[in-house]
Symmetry: C2
Subunit: 399 residues, 2 copies
């Protein structure tokens, strides 16, 4: 069986994701598609729009055969650690391919870029450091330093100003750095940019655009053409039950209370919080009754919106620098769901996996798993649900 892996958030699953699964399957001739998916907090530092089990169900209905949880410490980390977690889990699962979507659409530029940056790593790091000190955000600094390395008019390198190319680069980096047997390939993204608003007359829109349209109109009507049926039905059911979707705006009373309950020193102990921004975070939380107003006060040239949101995620879930630094390699494979085909793959290959598969959360005390369980509890509380310990109660989804 050929196994192809993808690393996803599905927030929510849309036609672009469906296209990516289909193309990946086709290009790799895959017998089984394995999705490593983030849990309740995502790489942009946000709570997931809907819970991970609902997202698992949708993924299984749309071509994923196995859904594996990307642990919190990778799922909410900067791109290189996010990619590392995903790649190492796919390697442990004996995947033959890793397929990622990119604006670039070809794999060679990523491989060339990796080699260029590896060969000039020292120079690159020096430049990045200097540029960050001069006031650029980390991604800006990295990109500028990278541009300086590219020989004139060499268009064969990846364009690292594009969000999916950046992530793609880090997949390639992780694949090489950890000497995995996973072969990276990339599928060209179609139509919508990462953050673009939805447009009529098309069938593909960005997840950000879809979420915004839903939140603005308090309705799913405008987005149905961008979503597979399974997503549309699941979102409709969710909205009927909860009357809202998860967002920082919704969670703000709890996030704000958590921030204002803590001392500056405690805030500074949370992962990714650096250089005195704790005082700004506290001051803005005092002043702002809504999340957007808060972010307007905290954002700056130095820190991207995403980076700040990741700090907030860690404050919200009580995840410290110390915990971040003690996270290294994944120790287990957490199974969220499977199709019959996925189950067959498990039966055939499980003995070759280099990490144990966890189907029941109660069977492990791994700190990474406990952090996911903890994050679920806080996500549910902030949603206003009296659902604690869901990770212990919900077995892997089967369809």
């Amino acid at each position: 069986m050929i196994a192809t892996g993808i690393v996803v958030e599905y927030n929510p699953f849309h036609n672009g994701h469906l296209y990516h699964i289909k193309q990946s399957k086709k290009h790799t001739d895959a017998d089984v598609m394995i999705a490593v998916m983030s849990g309740h907090f995502l790489q942009r530092g946000e709570p997931a729009f809907i819970d991970k089990w609902t997202r698992t169900k949708i993924a299984l209905a749309n071509g994923a055969d196995l859904v594996i949880e990307l642990p919190y410490s990778y799922a909410t980390a900067q791109a290189s650690d996010f990619a590392k977690g995903g790649v190492l889990l796919l390697e442990a699962l004996q995947c033959d391919f890793l397929s990622f979507g990119s604006e670039q659409g070809e794999i060679t530029p990523f491989l060339d870029t990796y080699k260029l940056l590896e060969d000039h790593n020292h120079e690159l790091q020096q430049n990045v450091k200097q540029l960050v000190q001069s006031g650029l955000s980390y991604p800006q600094a990295l990109n500028t330093a990278y541009q300086r390395l590219i020989p004139n008019n060499q268009l064969t390198y990846a364009d690292l100003t594009k969000p999916n190319n950046i992530l793609g680069y880090h997949y390639v980096e992780a694949v090489q750095k950890y000497h995995t047997n996973v072969k990276p390939i990339t599928i060209q993204r179609v139509q919508a940019g990462y953050h673009d608003a939805i447009q009529n007359g098309t069938t593909i829109a960005s997840a950000t655009g879809i979420r915004q349209a839903i939140q603005e109109h308090h309705s799913l009507q405008n987005v149905s053409s961008f979503l597979p049926k399974a997503t549309f039905h699941a979102l409709t059911e969710w909205y009927d039950e909860h009357h809202h979707f998860a967002s920082w705006e919704l969670f703000w009373p709890f996030l704000r209370f958590s921030i204002l309950r803590l001392s500056p020193k405690e805030i500074a102990s949370y992962a990714e919080v650096t250089e005195g921004i704790e005082f700004l975070i506290i001051q803005a939380a005092k002043e702002c009754p809504d999340f957007n107003g808060f972010m307007q006060k905290v954002k700056s040239k130095r820190y991207t919106w995403t980076r700040i949101q990741r700090m907030l995620t860690h404050i919200f879930t009580n995840f410290t620098w110390q915990q971040l630094k003690s996270s290294d390699l994944p120790n287990y494979i957490r199974l969220l769901g499977m199709t019959q085909n996925g189950q067959q793959y498990l039966s055939e290959r499980k003995k070759l996996f280099t990490l144990p598969v966890i189907s029941r959360a109660a069977s492990s005390n791994d700190p990474m798993l406990l952090q996911d369980i903890h994050a679920t509890d806080l996500y549910m509380l902030a949603l206003g649900k009296n659902k604690i310990g869901m990770d212990y109660k919900i077995p892997p989804i089967r369809i």
Copy 2:
């Protein structure tokens, strides 16, 4: 000018409190009445029913001339520290008398009791320790050990099974221990027991009974006969504005979120949390969507309801054992409100005060004051009010 001090919570101010002020004034021939009042969290470990400024206004309208804030670390402490804070502030304010209400109604038994317990202090402590180890709560153990010390049929000692007598004893203890010039006197409490429900045809009921009647009926109708006009009007206004009064039941989503956000080790670091009860607190918070259910699971023979609520208060406000242990003597006099008479007293006596008077919160960085400001912010957030930094904005109330 003769100054008489009282230590109060006024949660809320009722006819019994009015009676106590009038009798205290009469018995001491006082020219000025000084109330040292708790802020937003109280000795039974509860949020105050209404905010401290509203309670100040009511107190000033009913005979108090100065209202001084009892800092959080005393206001939410066990009886001996609560009394210590109150007594030392009244001493700093140059009070001639301290008048407290008691079931006993005479001061001699308190003085005799103090002498008895002082003379047999070692024996008492040994017995208390042993009884606590055998499973009694601290108050039960103290009372049992005390009973054993009383010579047969000596009725001249204070009955320390009564809640107001216990507090009264600690006032007398603090007066003696800190060699203050304040003279303690006591006024017999009339009619209502501390926790009793309200009864028709009477004009005095306990604050607990009054709060319960208001919460049960969502109305002030049944309690108007127990309240001075100023209280009734203030509560009516408050209810019209907020649609609820502060309580743990109301604050539970935030308290529960705070508990479940923290690790057992962190919970154990909060003041008064001892001996593994952190695990029980977390487990009960997981299971219970309401505060009362939570308390039913956590309470035990060893810990009184009040003690557990104080732990929760400290978890809620992020107040640790370390902070509790570093609190010792009050360093300032925080003025919450004054009548013209009170102002005259301040003008005449301020230079004799042994601590500085703080009228504007911004003028001090004393850790005790910062903790009160912090507690106010969290109280307001949990009430659902977007009112942060009220301590900096509201000047002393004047009537």
